[in-house]
Amino acid sequence: MDKTVRHFQEELELVLARLLEMGGLAEARVRDAVQGLVSRDPALIAKVMRGDEPLNRLHIEIDERSVRLLALHQPMATDLRAIVAAVKINTDLERVGDLAVNIAEAAERYASHPPVKKLIDIPHMGQVAQAMLRDALDAFVRRDTRLAQQVLDEDDTLDGLKTQVFRELLTYMLQDPSTVEPALDLVLVSRHLERIGDHATNIAEDVIFMVSAQDVRHHTAGGS
């Protein structure tokens, strides 16, 4: 019995592998978008704005594979939760890709104005958001609920940075109205990065649900 690898398991592994591939792409796009903003690099910005296609293809493929597995194999217990989690994580990663495009669009507008200030907190936010994404996906692969919990805790860091960025930019805008337009784009970028952290948080919550069947969303204590 233990010797037979069910072909369902092989197909499930394939879905999870595709999801990781997608996670890697999403993370790289966030990195490129923030890098494009900081270095005012039009080529890098254009690359992010045009390059959503591979992510969109994976989005559709993962959904199709998941539906097929649900329909044809009627998975139960941990297998069922893994597929449900995969479908939800898939949506989160696709949204991360879209947010990277939004950041690139803001970066393009920002680059048409003189810099408001030297960018420090926003690149930091970018690093935190990428690390959260990476950890959430690592937690998914390793079925590691402790790492998933760390991602949830890290979300407060990102929220704090976003507030800090907004307060600081407000002072620039009050002093010099000509900075309002580019500063608003920076506010938008910080908002997008914070949203990326929220998606990483969703993924971490799905990992905890997949592994332990506990629903930790909306601070529901312990699940049922």
């Binding site: 019995m1 539906v67 097929r68 329909a71 044809l72």
Partner: protein
């Protein structure tokens, strides 16, 4: 892709009763095709037309054609024994002979004069038992009675026996319906493995089983072929309302 089996305008009668009505279907090679449908829909009758197993029932009649590798198996001069060697069959109830495990698998080789030398025969028996995923469980007791095996093992023995004469097609009529879920899963995994070497047609009452093991699914309804297509399509987005109602359990 050239179909392995092609039925064309096939109707079948038990006396005056028409059990199959104008069935046309093409079954691809080296894949699993499942026949599903409610009791009495004709799926088992159709399966048995594919190796002329219905011939042994008195008062039956076939219209239309069944081609295997483009040759009509109901044509004049067809050797039915040779046909059934090419088109093996496994039944719902495992039916090992009251002989040893070894002799059960060797039986078909001996009666077909395919036994060869003693080592050749032993090698063929082992290969068949391995293909049926039974070898490891019986290799130390080959000369014990087959009737001492569990139900799931007996069914895999019957599959090994069918494979021993090297058929091209394997027909399976509810092969797991008398087995527990674990033994059923073993049979299903076996079917999945065997399609690399054989064309498999399986009749099952269990829709979920059809979904799990097959590449193509044919849905029979009142002796007609209601829908035939890729299994993922049939179970996620069937073309016919009737199929939709059946696979979602809204029947009746």
């Amino acid at each position: 892709m050239i179909p392995k089996i092609r039925a064309h305008g096939l109707s079948f009668y038990y006396g005056a009763v028409r059990a199959l009505d104008d069935i046309s279907v093409e079954i691809p090679p080296n894949l699993v095709t499942a026949f599903i449908g409610p009791s009495g829909c004709g799926k088992s009758t159709f399966l048995r037309t594919l190796n002329r197993m219905n011939d042994i029932i008195a008062g039956t009649r076939v219209e239309g054609r069944v081609l295997i590798d483009e040759a009509d198996i109901y044509g004049p001069g067809v050797d039915v024994v040779a046909l059934r060697r090419r088109v093996g069959m496994v039944f719902q109830k495992s039916n090992p002979f009251p002989k040893s495990i070894f002799d059960n698998v060797a039986y078909g080789l001996r009666v077909n004069d395919m036994a060869g030398s003693r080592p050749e025969l032993a090698g063929r028996v082992e290969a068949s038992l391995r293909q049926a995923a039974l070898w490891d469980e019986v290799k130390d007791r080959l000369h014990e009675s087959a009737l001492a095996l569990s139900g799931g093992q007996q069914q895999r023995l019957c599959i090994a026996r069918a494979l021993a004469v090297r058929p091209e097609i394997l027909l399976m009529d509810e092969p797991a319906s008398a087995l527990d879920p674990i033994a059923t899963q073993r049979i299903e995994e076996l079917v999945y493995e065997l399609k690399k070497s054989y064309t498999i047609v399986i009749v099952t009452h269990n829709m979920q089983q059809a979904a799990r093991v097959s590449d193509y699914t044919a849905f029979f309804w009142l002796g007609r072929l209601a829908e035939y297509g890729r299994t993922d399509k049939i179970f996620t987005n069937p073309a016919e309302k009737l199929t939709e109602d059946y696979v979602t359990g809204r029947f009746g």
